[in-house]
């Protein structure tokens, strides 16, 4: 076979199917059309994961933003040896301001939780009634045990009575506002953000641990804060509403307050 014959591909394959017609030798070949750019699925996937990971950074940023006013307030109280209600007021106001700011910025994430829950089953209603009784008993028992062995126990009424503040202010400031804002922060914003990143069960546990952590007491965390938060998280997910969790938290706080006032009056 000559060299020219070898350079031209056969017009038929062995089985008889035609091949493409070969270009005649000597003529210039057409410039091939540019191949359409196809996205690399691996790079797209990686970019998507990077975008999702920014939610983790947002969660950490939100938590640190809430932590800062609490730390500053604690430092102020510790270093000035102040037990006045005023420092609590400023700390609380700063914390609630942070929560409101993030709640407005992320309102689409959680605003659907601000609705009345559907009719609760008997089991769930019983659960909602029994849980604050148990958590109040545990909190009170822990406080009694701490006092008995001489541990420093936080006094809910510290600085309040001496300032001559009315009792309703104590109930609003300790019994009503913390449940409202903390539930919006932890079961509204944090839980919703975490549910985008992990399974709902894990999100409930992580948000509960962070809720317990911000109260700065390892024992309280273990005994009643984390269990209360887990139950509140579960109920929020089950009912699709923040209202039962706010009720649960408020009932717990009111119960602890009433017991503290009774003990104070008895003393």
């Amino acid at each position: 076979m000559s060299e020219s014959e070898m350079s031209v591909p056969p017009r038929e394959r062995v089985d008889g199917t035609p091949t493409t017609r070969p270009e005649p030798a000597g003529e210039p070949t057409a410039i091939p059309m540019p191949v359409a750019h196809t996205t690399d699925p691996v790079m797209d996937e990686r970019a998507q994961i990077e975008r999702e990971f920014r939610d983790v950074q947002r969660v950490c940023f939100f938590y640190v933003a809430m932590l800062l006013p609490v730390l500053v307030g604690t430092a102020w109280q510790f270093h000035t040896k102040s037990d006045d209600f005023v420092h609590e007021f400023y700390t609380g106001a700063a914390l609630y301001g942070v929560i409101v700011a993030f709640a407005l910025a992320w309102r689409r994430e959680w605003v659907d939780l601000l609705r009345r829950p559907d009719a609760l089953s008997r089991g769930l209603t019983g659960f909602l009634l029994a849980t604050p009784v148990c958590t109040v008993a545990l909190a009170h028992g822990l406080g009694e045990w701490g006092e008995a062995i001489g541990l420093p126990v936080a006094d809910l009424l510290e600085g309040f009575g001496e300032g001559g503040y009315p009792l309703w202010l104590l109930f609003v400031w300790t019994g009503l506002l913390p449940p409202l804002f903390e539930e919006i922060a932890f079961r509204g914003l944090l839980l919703r953000k975490l549910q985008r990143l992990m399974k709902p069960v894990h999100a409930i546990w992580v948000s509960s641990l962070l809720f317990g952590l911000i109260h700065f007491s390892v024992l309280s965390m273990a005994v009643f804060l984390v269990p209360l938060a887990v139950i509140a998280g579960y109920i929020t997910r089950r009912t699709g509403s923040l209202v039962p969790a706010i009720w649960l938290h408020a009932a717990h706080n009111f119960g602890v307050l009433i017991l503290a006032l009774s003990a104070d009056r008895a003393a």
């Binding site: 996937e45 994961i49 938590y63 932590l67 001489g150 990143l197 999100a203 546990w205």
Partner: protein
């Protein structure tokens, strides 16, 4: 005369017995080892701190007991997170990182100089936890995206 018969072909070797000259890939952890290290450091550090305190005050001193409860309790939290992290590293690492940073910031509130004590180790731990957290999330998502869709 008949030709020599071709020898029968040997039975196929199971793939598990194939000899490979490639080194097996090193088994990679999921990052939860960082949490175990934290738990051990916290536990040992807590016991050392309590021992140092009771050399100056009675063992039943409320302050010393409070320090022991806090440090051992924190070690127990990290240990629990390690156990959780063996199966689910991402949520455990996220929680461990936030717990670690929170308690050290709280420590700094009462004693600002405590931030500088062991600063190198703290930086190493934070960087290690953050890197492990990112890798755990990427691994989790890649596994989820590679899984066939549920019909």
């Amino acid at each position: 005369m008949s030709e020599n018969p071709t020898p029968p072909s040997p039975p196929p070797v199971p793939s598990s017995l194939h000899y490979s000259t490639e080194k097996p890939a090193a088994k990679r952890g999921n990052g939860s080892g960082w949490i175990l290290a934290l738990a051990l450091i916290q536990f040992i550090g807590g016991l050392v701190m309590y021992a140092m305190m009771i050399s100056k005050v009675p063992a039943s001193d409320p302050g010393a007991i409070g320090v022991l409860i806090t440090t051992v309790g924190l070690a127990a939290i990290f240990f629990g997170l390690w156990v959780w992290g063996r199966q689910h590293p991402f949520p455990a690492l996220l929680t461990a990182l936030i717990v670690f940073v929170t308690f050290h910031l709280l420590d700094a509130v009462f004693d600002p100089l405590s931030l500088l004590r062991g600063i190198l180790m703290k930086i190493v731990i934070i960087v290690g936890l953050s890197t492990a957290l990112k890798k755990a999330y990427v691994a989790k998502r890649e596994k989820e995206l590679a899984a066939p869709p549920v019909m």
